[in-house]
Amino acid sequence: MPTRPEVRQAGPKPPFWRDRAKRALIFQLLLVAAVAAFLIFIIGNTQANLAQRGITTGFGFLSNTAGFGIVQSLIDYSSQSTYGRTFLVGLLNTLLVSALGVLAATIVGFTVGIARLSPNWLIARLANVYIETFRNIPLLLQIFFWYFAVLRTLPSPRDSISLGEAVFINVRGLFLPEPLFESGFGLIPLALALAVGASIALVIWNRRRHAATGRRLPAGWMSLALIVGLPLAGLVLTGVPVTWDVPELRGFNFSGGITVIPEFLALWLALSIYTASFIAEIVRSGIQAIPHGQTEAAQSLSLPQGLVLRLVVIPQALRVIIPPLTSQYLNLIKNSSLATAIGYPDLVSVFAGTTLNQTGQAIEVIAMTMAVYLTISLLVSTFMNWFNARVALVER
């Protein structure tokens, strides 16, 4: 007679330290307690230290008069302005050099990255030398190089190098002619807006027509002609209502026109050149990541070479390129804080530097500075994630 297998009795409940859920709960509570204890320790120490040094906390200092001038400012600023205004000036200067740096680094980076893949041996080598040289030298060193070794050794205003007697460069910076708009110029931005609107409509119409009939117009070239041509036509029709304020040598320095300070030039050059070398590597690996079969398949459909690139290779390469490109942009923005080493008046230099030294409000100033960079980082990565999601491959 076969014996029935014994039914195992449920044993006593395991002790709570063998229960995963409870263990996780206890561990997390301990972590919270440890972090809280650490924070209380720090806050207590800070309060004691501040009381001992006689520093009052709070953001009241922002409305006090700063009392120092700033060499470059996009908004009205004088030494009578408040620390709040200083913060704003610094922030705008940071954004200015970052935006122009991102623009230049993208153009140079894409050019060098594509040149790196050129079938021309010499061009590919030169691009490689560019990449390997500039990405292996610290950015701060490059900033110093441009500032102290190049721009600071330029001639004095009296013997400045000039391009066509309109653009001057000397030890005080770069002097550009400034366009002055006379009455009647309002028409030109209007024409530009009109041209942009018409181009967008044209592209949408062309896309629909292409989908419906298979025929297409060269919409890209047509929009370019519109956007360039219409404002130009407007300029000619209104009799060119622009005069140029050309910088002139008066006494020891130039006056009139736009002045680009050497600190800005050095920072912008170094940031663009350094970041471009990383972008070039990203572009190269992005394009190389597309299997050669894709190109061959497109060619066997008898697409012309331009369309192979535009419709097959580049859209797929962009998917690979965009995430690392985002982090390079963020790096550039964060690296613009090196401005403080050569005295370009960015956020860190005028706020976390001069303002902190004058007011002694270390905690508020550093917290505000860090908050700005965190916000910029989050905004840029949110935007780039959205863009990435749009171009990403939709799977299942």
Binding site: A24, F27, Q28, L31, V32, V35, I42, N45, T46, A48, N49, L50, Q52, S118, P119, N120, W121, L122, I123, L126, E132, T133, R135, N136, I137, P138, L139, L140, L141, Q142, F144, F145, F148, A149, R152, T153, K334, N335, S337, L338, T340, A341, V348, A352, L356, A362, I363, I366, T369, M370, Y373, L374, S377, L378
Partner: protein
């Protein structure tokens, strides 16, 4: 039906498909556009290289002791020569330099041992490098024990300080980074959110603000009367910054390990730390080495920022030497020297990381 009774004569090699001339045609002059690019490239090379070589080698002055030995027609390497000891060791006492040399020589041997794949006892060497070596290096460099003269950290500088900052920051950041990466992948919500906030915070702010924070705010955080050395403050800032970047590299490596590995370990009854320590991390760390080397390169370059809070690393000490009144006007020479030093280190490390990547890649392709 035709029958051939003689061998066909071997045809000559097709004209211009081999040899240097054919290479030139295929790679440099394959079309009108390419030819123009090649000529432009050659012109660019000529314009850039001729004055550089003239300046750096042909017209340069190498031997001497003061600025009077420089003809000023080309580079004055006399400046670098005269300051070389300072650039490398900072203000470390001249008769104690053997201590620094010993530390760096032994470090180089250990690292070379770990980097060359063929050598045995990797595990023991790694333990020695991570646990024993730091203590020995501290005792040798700082002194104060075994009759060694005490050398305060403000006398440390130059290349030596750059290496110390980078290596200590890296070694200290590695365990924190591993914990953070594990925390970010954890199923416990509080642990996960703590890790995410910590990582994103340090990654979102520039290193300069962290260094400012370490030098200005850290003294406020500590109990009254406790003061921390400036070098240690910089190291704390660098470690926190680096650990966040390290965590992301490690997370990438962890994600590359198939889930089945961890599940199989769990099926064998292993606990969390056993699964991670014995199964997942050993596989993941091996794949992460190129990424870790890359973050080390960026840390190595970023250590130059410490000069802003008043430490004299390689760039800081070159910059300080430039304002010496006896040696004014040699900025270019100083920067070229510093750039060359940094370049050698970074370039060789990036080559090593590329070699590893290639090696690991073929391993997985089979």
């Amino acid at each position: 039906m035709t029958i051939r009774e003689k061998m066909i004569e071997a045809r000559p090699a097709p004209g211009l498909s081999i040899g240097p001339l054919a290479w030139l045609r295929a790679n440099l002059f394959s079309g009108p556009v390419n030819s123009v690019f090649t000529l432009l490239g050659l012109y660019l090379l000529y314009v850039l290289l001729t004055p550089t070589i003239q300046w750096a080698f042909i017209n340069a002055d190498w031997i001497g002791t003061s600025r009077d030995d420089c003809s000023r027609e080309g580079a004055c390497w006399v400046f670098v020569n005269a300051r070389l000891t300072q650039f490398i060791y900072g203000l470390y006492p001249r008769d104690e330099l053997w201590r620094v040399n010993l530390v760096f020589a032994s470090f180089a041997v250990l690292i070379a041992w770990l980097a060359i794949p063929r050598l045995p006892f990797k595990r023991w060497i790694a333990v020695v490098t991570l646990l024993v070596f730091p203590v020995v290096a501290y005792v040798l460099l700082y002194g104060g024990y075994f009759g060694l003269r005490l050398v305060e950290t403000h006398r440390w500088g130059g290349l030596m300080l750059t290496l110390i900052l980078a290596v200590v920051g890296m070694v200290a950041a590695l365990p924190i980074g591993i914990l953070l990466a594990l925390g970010r992948r954890s199923e416990m919500p509080i642990v996960k959110s703590f890790s995410v906030v910590f990582i994103e915070f340090w990654r979102g702010v520039p290193l300069i603000t962290i260094l400012f924070m370490a030098s200005v705010m850290l003294p406020l955080f500590l109990p009254t009367g406790v003061s921390v050395d400036r070098l240690v403050r910089a190291l704390i800032g660098i470690t926190l910054f680096q650990s966040a970047y390290m965590a992301e590299v490690i997370r990438g490596g962890l994600q590359a390990i198939p889930r089945g590995q961890e599940e199989a370990a769990a099926a064998l009854g292993m606990g969390y730390w056993q699964r991670m320590g014995l199964i997942v991390l050993p596989q993941a760390l091996k794949m992460m080495i190129p990424g870790i080397v890359n973050t080390f390169i960026s840390l190595f370059k970023d250590t130059t920022l410490v000069m802003i809070i008043g430490l004299f690393d390689l760039l800081g000490i070159v910059q300080a030497a430039l304002s010496d009144s006896r040696w004014l006007g040699f900025a270019l020479e100083g920067y070229v020297f510093a750039a060359f030093m940094f370049w050698i280190f970074c370039f060789s490390m990036s080559r090593y990381s590329q070699y590893l990547e290639k090696k690991l890649h073929t391993g997985h392709k089979k």
